[in-house]
């Protein structure tokens, strides 16, 4: 099967998966106790006020009807009105998603920038001092919870040295780059250790491989051997790992968003679950499911470009 047909088939699979995910979310969020009107009204939660809000939000309709209405709206690209903000959920989710996407892309770039040079150094200096140092980093890195790393970065680079803002999101591209640096670095420090390990070991395999020996015997310069032959081949397996890490990041930025006061999807999701803001929760779940599917698909596709042996079946 060709790559094109494979991609189309994978994309079509998104539809049943997304429906399945929204259905499960819908059932679960309605199964857990808690009424958004009661939660929202607090001291004013008189039966009269609660009934008014339930009616206004359509929560007095049968569940299947509410789910059907949700599906119809999704097809039209609309997740309904946020119960908490009385504003379109789509806009609220998209503005939060933008922050999280920035964070994830930025973190991926930084993690690659950290991992590749270190892994190359370790692989070339195998079993020597530099290698031992690089191999120790993942052990230490993975042992540090991101909450702690974040606080240390804030204290050092934010409060002591005033290099970066300690939290919040500054407007504009440069504002984003500066204010998202520490949170992205925090995330990157969480991913980089895994990347370093896998890249180092696959580089070592590649350096020992026969095609590298062949390249060297043809008289190609060592730098070119390394970049064109060894790294390119080694990066294939690490690419998959980075893809998995990104999928994990999409659902795992909450802690960092919280510490750095970033208005991202993680914080919005948790708050919306507590508020029982059904439209927002359903909208976010839907988008997250699609994002994870697409990142996995993109990883496979990139993999196929990097490794021509990959065939789609």
């Amino acid at each position: 099967m060709g790559r094109g047909i494979y991609i189309i088939r994978r994309l079509l699979l998104v539809i049943p998966t997304a429906i399945g995910v929204t259905l499960v979310t819908f059932i679960m969020i309605h199964l857990i106790p808690g009424n958004p009107a009661v939660t929202m009204l607090g001291i004013r939660a008189t039966p009269h006020n609660v009934a008014l809000l339930d009616h206004q939000w359509g929560l007095d309709k049968p569940l299947w009807q509410q789910y059907w209405l949700f599906l119809i709206r999704v097809v039209r690209g609309n997740f309904g009105e946020s119960l908490f903000y009385s504003a379109p959920a789509t806009g609220i989710i998209l503005s939060a998603s933008a922050v999280t996407v920035w964070l994830i892309v930025y973190a991926s770039v930084i993690s690659v920038a950290i991992a590749v040079p270190l892994a190359v150094v370790a692989a070339l200096r195998r079993d020597r001092f530099a290698d031992h140092v690089v191999r120790a980093i993942p052990l230490v890195g993975m042992g540090m919870p991101s909450a702690w790393v974040a606080i240390m970065l804030i204290l050092g680079l934010g409060i002591k040295l005033h290099v970066f803002p300690v939290g919040g999101l500054d407007p504009g591209i440069f504002g984003h780059i500066s204010s998202l640096f520490l949170p992205s670095l925090t995330l990157a420090l969480g991913i980089a250790p895994v990347l370093i390990r896998s890249l180092r070991s696959s580089l070592i395999d590649a350096i020992d491989a026969e095609y590298v020996t062949t390249a060297r015997s043809k008289g190609i310069r060592e730098y070119r051997v390394l970049v064109r032959h060894a790294i390119r081949n080694a990066i294939v397996s690490s690419m998959n790992i980075l893809g998995l890490q990104i999928a994990w990041l999409i659902s795992g930025t909450l802690v960092v968003e919280t510490i750095f006061a970033l208005p991202g999807v993680g914080a919005l999701m948790v708050n919306s679950i507590y508020r029982r803001d059904f439209p927002v929760v359903q909208g976010i779940t839907f988008l997250l499911a699609i994002a994870v599917i697409l990142v996995n698909l993109a990883t496979d596709i990139v993999h196929s470009f990097l490794d021509p042996r990959v065939r789609f079946e």
């Binding site: 009661v38 607090g42 908490f84 504003a87 919280t258 750095f260």
Partner: protein
């Protein structure tokens, strides 16, 4: 209390604040547990004020708050962030005094009460314009009150049966009975004045770009992130506001707020953790204020459970709890042990109300007089991640064990806990009440009367006919002296019967840069930022 208490210690039942702060705690406290606060505070560092122009007018005040406002429609507001934001944009005829004990004229110059005490005639200040430059008239007030009577806060005007506008500067409010709390009710945020008929716009369109008489108007609102107010050029108080803009940032995590203050990114932060207060006070360039508040923290007990329907059990619990250790160990000393349902910041507070303080021997005697002399097993429900109420629960657990009551602690998410309370499916749970007006009638019916305040005696189902009668008498009495003695009886009776076991009163904590001047918070919490300057 510690900051997470401000965030999370709030009650499931009585106020919307509770939910918001709890949400903040539930979602966020887990990431940076309380102890980090002290690490942060202990690490010294210089702060760079965000405004160093040296001028006393102008500037942008950056204010980091716990939660996002839910709405900027005053009639629909329930959570504190919405309320306090609305009151900077729209104003009431009367407002609470700075000690919280009464009301003072604001958009009105005064009132006359008819001899049958059922007709209140208010005179508007002559010099008031809306933020679009048009004058305030009695039509605007009539429209506002009638609109508010259709919203979720309608109960506050339940005694009003008609509003007349005999002249452009005169509003007449008729009540069904003589109504003591009326001035307080008029000062309720939900009655903050909007232009007549919302200038012909629908709600959604109007609140995109709202018009009010307040010192500030809305500039922008990015939901979940920030809300920016800008100076109202037509404001009626001469020379005010001093600031050009106010930027409210939503920063749910308490430790992050402290970091933003220390890093110079915020000028004022709401609710720094109490554990960090002394360290912040010692930091140069930063000051901390603990403003007395109307917040009362108590334990609700579900009287649909036979144990708690027994008054001796409730009294035994009150005598068993060591409130001093709660204040000392959990609130780091920044609170006041309390046993009365009225805090000293409430109007009509009676200092002579008997207090069922910590006294294990008397607690055992009370339990012996109950139907459960050998004790029983019960459950205390808290919100997961709420470190303050979690710690308090452990102190109460140990206290109750000493008199023979076995108390298990169970954690829930906030909405679930709310649901359990509404369905009377819980034993004990912590809660909070606060006042928004200078009159206790905002909360008393909800706290201790059944089927009258809307939430069945704070979901305790405590039912006492005399308490209900006293509550209504206090409403139907206009004379403050007479009301004072009725509320004294209510406080005594609540102390004696313990429908709620009150634990403590806690202040509103705010930390600011030294460059912020004139920031003051009355016990009702609504700060007047028109008085603030940056140096």
């Amino acid at each position: 209390m510690t900051d997470s208490a401000r965030e999370t210690g709030l009650p499931p039942a009585l106020s919307r604040r509770s939910f918001l702060r709890r949400t903040a705690a539930g979602g966020f406290a887990l990431s940076t547990a309380g102890s980090l606060a002290s690490v942060l505070a202990a690490c010294s560092g210089s702060t760079s004020p965000s405004s160093s122009s040296g001028k006393h007018t102008g500037g942008d005040l950056v204010f980091a708050r716990i939660a996002d406002p839910q709405t900027i429609d005053p009639s629909a507001a329930i959570d504190t962030e919405s309320i306090w934001t609305c009151l900077l944009m729209y104003e009431c005829l009367y407002t609470v005094t700075s000690n919280g004990h009464g009301t003072k004229p604001w958009l009105a110059t005064g009132y006359e009460l008819s001899s049958d005490q059922r007709t209140w005639t208010f005179h508007l200040r002559p010099d008031i314009n809306f933020s679009d430059g048009s004058p305030l008239t009695s039509q605007d007030v009539k429209f506002t009150l009638e609109r508010s009577m259709k919203g979720p806060n309608a109960y506050i005007l339940s005694a009003v049966d008609g509003i007349d506008t005999p002249a452009a500067d005169t509003v007449v409010v008729h009540t069904t009975h003589p109504w003591g709390p009326l001035l307080g009710d008029i000062s309720m945020y939900s009655n903050a004045v909007l232009p007549n008929n919302l200038r012909g716009e629908k709600d959604a369109a109007f609140f995109q770009n709202p018009i009010g008489t307040g010192p500030f108007t809305l500039k922008s609102w990015t939901k979940g992130q920030s809300l920016v107010l800008t100076k109202n050029p037509h404001y009626w108080q001469p020379g005010k506001p001093h600031l050009d803009t106010v930027t409210f940032m939503t920063v749910p995590d308490s430790n992050t707020r402290v970091l933003q203050l220390r890093g110079g990114q915020a000028d004022i932060i709401e609710a720094p953790p109490f554990s960090s207060v002394s360290n912040l006070q010692a930091t140069s360039g930063i000051k901390v204020d603990l403003f007395p508040s109307t917040a009362v923290f108590f334990v609700q007990m579900n009287e649909k459970r036979p144990q708690f329907a027994d008054m001796h059990v409730r009294r035994a619990i009150s005598y068993a709890i060591d409130r001093n250790s709660i204040v000392k160990d959990v609130l780091f000393g920044h609170g006041q042990p309390g046993a009365s349902i009225f805090s000293p910041a409430w109007p009509f507070y009676d200092a002579s109300t008997p207090k069922l303080w910590y006294d294990p021997a008397t607690a055992k005697q009370e339990l012996a007089m109950s139907s459960y002399p050998k004790g029983f097993t019960t459950t205390y429900a808290v919100v997961a991640g709420d470190t303050v109420n979690g710690s308090i629960a452990q102190i109460i657990q140990a206290n109750l064990k000493a008199i023979g009551i076995t108390m298990n602690i169970q954690s829930y998410d906030p909405s679930t806990l709310n649901d359990l309370q509404v369905k009377a499916d819980y034993d004990m749970t912590p809660a909070e009440a606060t006042l928004d007006i200078g009159d206790p009638d905002e909360d008393v019916p909800a706290m201790i009367t059944l089927k009258y305040g809307g939430i069945d005696s704070s979901y305790t189902w405590y039912n006492n006919a005399e308490m209900l009668k006293l509550t209504k008498d206090a409403e139907l009495t206009v004379s403050p002296t007479a009301r004072n003695s009725i509320y004294a009886k209510i406080q005594d009776m609540a102390a004696e019967q313990c429908p709620l076991v009150v634990l403590y009163y806690a202040p509103y904590a705010y930390a600011q840069q030294q460059t912020v001047n004139g920031f003051f918070v009355p016990p009702t919490g609504n700060y007047h930022l028109e008085d603030v300057t940056l140096s």
